[in-house]
């Protein structure tokens, strides 16, 4: 039976191939041979086609009635088995896995069925940051947080570091936006006895067109939306056409949130920014307030891209903490625990120092 997965092995020595961050070629870390991405694609195209067919053949056996009574229909749908082309072990993945690592032999494994046809990403931003970069960046991230528990850095250890290509929808849109603002001009007149303020109220109407390019919205239910929005922005200068060769040595999931579902988040961001642009054109007023707005999408285009993310999991006091690093820019995001004693003492200390200063200021003002 043909393998339903493809291992990218070095044609020279048979060792697993890796796409090393920051390089433009796929490298064999064992014999040092470097391959162009296009060469690897050509080399493994036939294998991928065969793997697709094998996966389809296997999927046909994944009828729910064959799954037995232990699995619910949802579970059966979500789990899929593939054979590792290196050691022959059966890999069980969820329905979104595009690239993984064999848990038995550690071989980087692709599941081409997950990125053929409509599922194939248009672009990929290759990893630029290495595992060591991620560890260093996390250590740097800990610094400067006054409330971080003293033993957090000492007692905590990075439990897992996973490089992962996260599916993102990139929304291009050309919009027509119109809005009405209530704006005020204030004219202050000082007389000997009173201060007179004349407030002239205007209705300001603005209408215009503008374009937004590649607003990223993650298409993965697994990934926290706030984390994915926090690791922005990405430098699209590194965006390249998709090739599965970039996945070697990394985890990758296909999208499980459709572009249509994700578009609402992009639309909201576009609307907010468009209103801000129109508001900034209401000039020479002392106060501007939005009254009403309408944003119409004239042209909307969506592309599917895979974006590099390092996922770092640490444990402190038996509680896991997850941090994510933009695999391209190195920006780390996450939530750190805080020491409750420090959170009480530091502000209390500030209050103690401030109280006498405030007392003298208030006394001087009163008398």
């Amino acid at each position: 039976m043909a393998d339903s997965s493809v291992s990218y092995k070095c044609p020279n020595c048979g060792a697993p191939l890796s796409f090393l961050p920051g390089k433009k070629t796929v490298t064999c870390e064992y014999c040092g041979t470097e391959f162009e991405v296009s060469a690897i694609e050509e080399l493994f195209r036939a294998k991928q086609e065969m793997a697709v067919q094998a996966a389809e053949a296997q999927e046909s056996k994944w009828a729910i009635e064959d799954a037995g009574s232990e699995w619910s229909s949802d579970e059966a749908k979500a789990l899929h088995a593939f054979t590792c082309s290196s050691c022959g072990a059966e890999l069980v993945c969820d329905e979104n896995t595009m690239a993984t690592e064999c848990v038995y032999c550690g071989n980087p494994t692709m599941i081409p069925k997950r990125f053929d046809g409509m599922l194939k990403p248009d672009f990929v931003i290759p990893f630029k940051k290495t595992k060591q970069d991620a560890v260093n960046a996390l250590k740097e991230f800990y610094k400067g947080h006054m409330l971080l528990p003293s033993n957090f850095t000492a007692n905590n250890r990075v439990e897992a570091i996973q490089p992962m290509y996260v599916p993102f929808w990139l929304f291009d849109s050309k919009i027509t936006a119109q809005a009405e603002f209530r704006a005020e001009k204030h004219h202050v007149i000082n007389t000997p006895n009173e201060v007179i303020t004349e407030i002239s109220v205007y209705n300001c109407r603005r209408k215009g067109v503008m374009s937004f390019e590649r607003i990223p919205v993650d298409g993965s239910k697994k990934m926290d939306d706030a984390y994915m929005e926090s690791i922005e922005p990405f430098d699209y200068g590194d965006l390249v056409e998709f090739s599965a060769a970039y996945f070697t040595g990394y985890l990758a999931d296909k999208y499980d949130v459709t572009a249509e579902t994700s578009s609402a988040r992009a639309d909201k961001r576009v609307e907010n920014s468009a209103i801000e642009v129109l508001k900034s054109s209401v000039e020479n007023f002392d106060a501007v307030q939005l009254e009403s707005a309408a944003v119409k999408k004239d042209v909307g285009k969506v592309s599917y891209a895979m974006v590099p993310v390092w996922i770092l999991t640490t444990r402190y006091n038996d509680k896991p903490y997850t941090f994510m690093m933009n695999g391209q820019t190195g920006k780390v995001v996450g939530s750190l625990p805080y020491d409750k004693t420090k959170a009480f003492l530091y502000p209390a200390l500030c209050s103690l120092v401030l109280a006498p200063i405030l007392y003298f200021i208030i006394s001087a003002l009163i008398y």
Binding site: H145, M146, L147, L148, K174, A183, P192, N193, E194, V195, I196, E198, I199, S200, V201, Y202, N203, R205, G208, V209, M210, S211, F212, E213, I215, D224, A226, E229, S230, E232, P233, A266, K268, R269, V270, N272, S273, V277, S281, V282, V333, G334, S335, L336, P337, Y338, A343, F344, Y346, P347, A348, C350, L354, A355, P356, L358, Y359, I362, S363, I366
Partner: protein
């Protein structure tokens, strides 16, 4: 010759009487006090004056011309009672309009302050004035001045004022409340800094700057509103007095 001599004597006596009358401690042009009462009050006030080296004047009038009690009380003070070593104070009572006004000179206002001393004195005699007990009112006024001066001499600060180094409870309470509020704010900020995970609300990073074209740009004037705010009075708390003072009705 004798007639001329007597006329000269009469003129000298009149001038002497007039001068003495102008500097008299208690004057009653409204006829509300008996002579004996005036005598008793004068004695009492003189004793207070000597004890504290101050000048005190009390004047009952039928009516103040023009009704300007502040100017009238200041005039009496600076004409007749401003030469006390430790200052002077005057109580003017207008029986026609049933108003009273106290005036203190620049030295006295440091010892009997407008914010605490004058209200203290008002409390001492206003009820007697209202009840028609004018002797009692002046008597209590003199007692009040005596108490306030004794307080100043004993404590080194005017009644109602803080002693040097003494903590003002109101300012201290306010400082503690603001410090606690700032502490809570600092705590919230420090805890907030422990996470940099936030939802993105805008897409301005992805706006093509040269793509913005605003083709409808109309500003329409709707209406104007006018707000007026009275300026706080620039005069001091003395209510227009050259030194200090205050008054009211009875």
């Amino acid at each position: 010759m004798l007639k001329k001599f007597l006329s000269l004597i009469a003129l000298i006596l009149l001038i002497s009487f007039s001068t003495a009358s102008a500097a008299q401690t208690v004057t009653d042009k409204a006829g509300v006090l008996k002579d004996t009462e005036i005598e008793l009050l004068n004695q009492k006030i003189h004793a207070v004056e000597q004890t504290h080296k101050i000048k005190i004047g009390v004047a009952f009038v039928k009516s103040v011309v023009g009704g300007d009690m502040v100017t009238a009380s200041d005039d009496i003070l600076y004409q007749n009672f401003a030469n006390g070593k430790n200052g002077g104070i005057v109580l003017l009572v207008d029986m026609g309009n049933r108003k009273y006004e106290m005036a203190t000179d620049t030295r006295m206002v440091e010892q009997i302050t407008d914010s605490d001393g004058i209200p203290f004195l008002k409390d001492r005699f206003t009820s007697d004035l209202s009840a028609g007990n004018y002797y009692g009112a002046v008597n209590n006024f003199a007692d009040g001045v005596d108490e306030l001066m004794t307080y100043y001499e004993t404590n080194g600060v005017a009644y109602g004022q803080r002693k040097p180094g003494e903590i003002d409870p109101m300012a201290a309470g306010l400082a503690v409340i603001i410090a606690i509020f700032l502490g809570v704010m600092i705590r919230s900020i420090l805890i907030g800094l422990m996470s940099n995970v936030h939802h993105a609300t805008a897409a301005s990073d992805y706006l093509k700057k040269n793509s913005v074209k605003i083709f409808d740009n109309h500003d329409t004037f709707l209406f104007m509103t006018v707000k007026r705010r009275a300026k706080s009075s620039s005069s001091s708390s003395s209510g227009g007095h050259r030194g200090g003072g205050g008054g009211g009705s009875f």
